[in-house]
Every structure is written in structure tokens, then in C-alpha cells.
């Protein structure tokens, strides 16, 4: 039973290894086959190259948006740093994890990196709720942790994220029925053009802000506090979205660069193979003609 099941796989494996080693078989079928593959690889290279160029141009814009948004996030973080706000530690407090991914793929492992990080966080806090921004992480987390997801947003990351996006998302999160003790926004931190790292950023709840040791220095009325919290959430979301967007573009650029390089390598290999095969065919034909001529002379 097992051997029979394993056999087709074996055969398939053998076929794959056998395919490239046929240059000495001088028939036209393989020649045309190689030509066809060469053509398709060339087309793929063209596509990936174009995508790389598109990603490069988008990257400069995304990076500009990121540096601009950073000031938003940092300004609102300074308030909490100065107030020495700490996330509430307590039993029975619910945590909300906001995953800032996007809708589009073909950009290496940045979405799965976020998903992995989120899963690790869920391992420590199994009852935490998740809000997913973007289709990619939704698909990944929906399969493994569908029970934890409370909201998902689509249409994220088509263009550079706007503050209006962040505000609308923040509003919808505030409308959630549960009162969360802490909101963690997970996004890809932009380290440099090559590397990024899933990082959580904390958006504090009203209670946490109120309990911070230096809170009195700011003289904030209780009534305004919820405004501050909503606004800080929108700021952090905007920051996370913009930085994640920049990461995605740079990751896509790198992925497409690698794909183009690999395609170029393959084209080289197939070109050589193609030439060898063609020569073998010509030699074979010559041999046939000469032997035929020699035979008819006698």
C-alpha cells in the first residue's frame, strides 16, 4: 500500500531530475521544448523587473511618508514617556492585538513574519483579541486563530496610508464592545532597506494613562482623556501603517530583485543548454548526410 502510494511521487522525482540531462538526445522535440521554456522565463524576468521598478518608485514615496508619520507617532509617544505610563498589569484584563499588514503579496516574508510574531504573542496571552488590517495576515491568522479575530479591515496598503485611514480604523476599534486594558499594534519596523522586524507598539487605555506616575504634570481633565486616548491610538496606527507600508515596498523591491536575478541565471543556463542541443542536432544531421552520401557512392 505504502510502496504503491510512494511510487508516483518517485516517478515524478525521477522525471524532474531526468529532464535537464537530455542534451545528447538529438531530436527536435527537446529543442523546441527548451526554446519554449526559455521564452517563458524571459517573460517572467520582464515582469519581475517591471515590478521591481514600480516598487522602487513607490518605495521612495513610502519612505517619505514614513519619516513624516514617525513624527506623529513620536510626538504622541513623548507624552506617555514623560508621564511614565505603563501598561496595566492585572488579571482578567483583555488585550487587543492590532496586526498592521496589507492586502498584497509578492513581497517575501513580511506578512508571515507578522503572523508568526502575533502567534507567539497569542501563545502567552491565549484570550487576546485580534484586529487584522490587510487581507494577507487575515488569511494566515484566520486559519490558525480564527476564534480570536474580532475585526478585519480590507483595502489596506493600496497606496500610501492616509491619516484618515488610521482615524477610521481607530474609531471602529473604539466602538468595540470590550474594554481593553492594553492595545498592542504589531507592525514591521523599518531598520534599513534590507531588513525589517516585527515590533509591537503600545496604545494605552484610559485607566493606564490615569494611573501613570507623572500624569498630574499634564493637567488633563478626565473628560478630555478619552479624546487623548482615541487620538493617540490613531497616531500610533498611522505610524504603524506607514512604516509597514515602507517595509512592504522595500521587501517587494528586494524580492523582485532576487526573482529577476534568478531568472537571469536560469536564462543563462537554458541558453547554453539550447545552444549545445542545437549543435548536437546539427552534428547528428551532418553525420547522417555524410554516411548517407558515403553509402550511396559505393
Amino acid at each position: 500500500m505504502l510502496s504503491r502510494a510512494a511510487r508516483p511521487a518517485l516517478r515524478a522525482g525521477a522525471a524532474v531530475t531526468a529532464r535537464p540531462i537530455v542534451p545528447n538526445a538529438a531530436n527536435f522535440a527537446t529543442l523546441r521544448e527548451i526554446e519554449g521554456r526559455l521564452k517563458s522565463i524571459r517573460n517572467i524576468e520582464k515582469i519581475t523587473k517591471t515590478m521591481k521598478i514600480v516598487a522602487s518608485t513607490k518605495l521612495t514615496r513610502a519612505q517619505k511618508a514614513m519619516t513624516e508619520s514617525r513624527s506623529y507617532g513620536e510626538a504622541s509617544n513623548t507624552v506617555f514617556e514623560k508621564a511614565e505610563t505603563k501598561p496595566l498589569e492585572g488579571e482578567g484584563k483583555k488585550t487587543l492585538i492590532v496586526v498592521a499588514s496589507s492586502d498584497k503579496g509578492l513581497c517575501g516574508g513580511i506578512h508571515s513574519g507578522l503572523s508568526k510574531y502575533t502567534r507567539a504573542m497569542l501563545h502567552n496571552k491565549p484570550d487576546a483579541d485580534i484586529v487584522v488590517l490587510g487581507e494577507k495576515c487575515k488569511a494566515q491568522l484566520g486559519r490558525s486563530n480564527g476564534k480570536n479575530i474580532v475585526l478585519s479591515f480590507a483595502n489596506v496598503g493600496k497606496d500610501v496610508p492616509t491619516f484618515a485611514d488610521a482615524q477610521a480604523i481607530a474609531d471602529q476599534i473604539c466602538l468595540l464592545p470590550t474594554d481593553y486594558a492594553s492595545i498592542q499594534i504589531v507592525y514591521n519596523k523599518f531598520l534599513n532597506a534590507q531588513s525589517y522586524e516585527p515590533t509591537p507598539v503600545e496604545a494605552f487605555s484610559e485607566e493606564a494613562i490615569k494611573n501613570s506616575p507623572n500624569f498630574a504634570a499634564f493637567e488633563i481633565d478626565d473628560e478630555v482623556l478619552s479624546n487623548l486616548r482615541e487620538y493617540a491610538l490613531a497616531n500610533s496606527l498611522f505610524w504603524a501603517l506607514a512604516e509597514g507600508h515602507a517595509c512592504e515596498q522595500s521587501a517587494r523591491r528586494n524580492a523582485m530583485d532576487n526573482a529577476s536575478n534568478n531568472a537571469a541565471d536560469m536564462i543563462n543556463k537554458f541558453q547554453i543548454l539550447f545552444n549545445r542541443t542545437r549543435q548536437a542536432v546539427i552534428t547528428g544531421e551532418l553525420v547522417e548526410i555524410i554516411t548517407g552520401a558515403a553509402a550511396s557512392e559505393q
Partner: protein, 77 residues
């Protein structure tokens, strides 16, 4: 409560968005075209329950209707 917008059920973010829109619209024609793109928001969202995704809804519509509901509650109180 001193804030009129709060009584109308708006959140602070919504209030800011409306204020920003007003500023953008009052700009001169040349500047307005480039700037107005920053106020665009075309997100969709879905609520999840027990591991199942609900319907995809337009976020802007949902937010306005939620706030209208909220306003009704506030006046009722």
C-alpha cells in the same frame, strides 16, 4: 460637557477628520487637488464571530451610522 460634537455622537477622531476636511476644502484650487487625496479613505471591514468572517462592509458608512446611533443614545439619556 462642553463639547457640542461629543453630544452629537462624534468621536474625537471623527471631529478632527471633519475639521481637516473643512480646511482642505477651503484651500485654493491648485493646492486643493493635491491635498484632498490625503483625506481619502476607502477601507472595508468585517466583523468576526466564532472564527467566521462576517460581511464586508464599507468602513465610512459603518462609522457614520454607528455615530448616528450613538447620538440617539446620548439624547435619550
Amino acid at each position: 460637557m462642553a463639547f457640542a460634537w461629543k453630544a452629537a455622537g462624534l468621536t474625537y477622531n471623527r471631529y478632527l477628520a471633519v475639521a481637516a476636511r473643512v480646511v482642505r476644502r477651503s484651500l485654493k484650487e491648485e493646492q486643493r487637488i493635491g491635498v484632498e487625496r490625503r483625506g481619502e479613505m476607502d477601507l472595508k471591514f468585517a466583523k468576526w464571530q466564532n472564527g467566521k468572517q462576517g460581511d464586508n462592509k464599507n468602513l465610512a458608512d459603518a462609522n457614520t451610522s454607528a455615530m448616528a446611533e450613538h447620538a440617539g443614545q446620548q439624547t435619550a439619556q
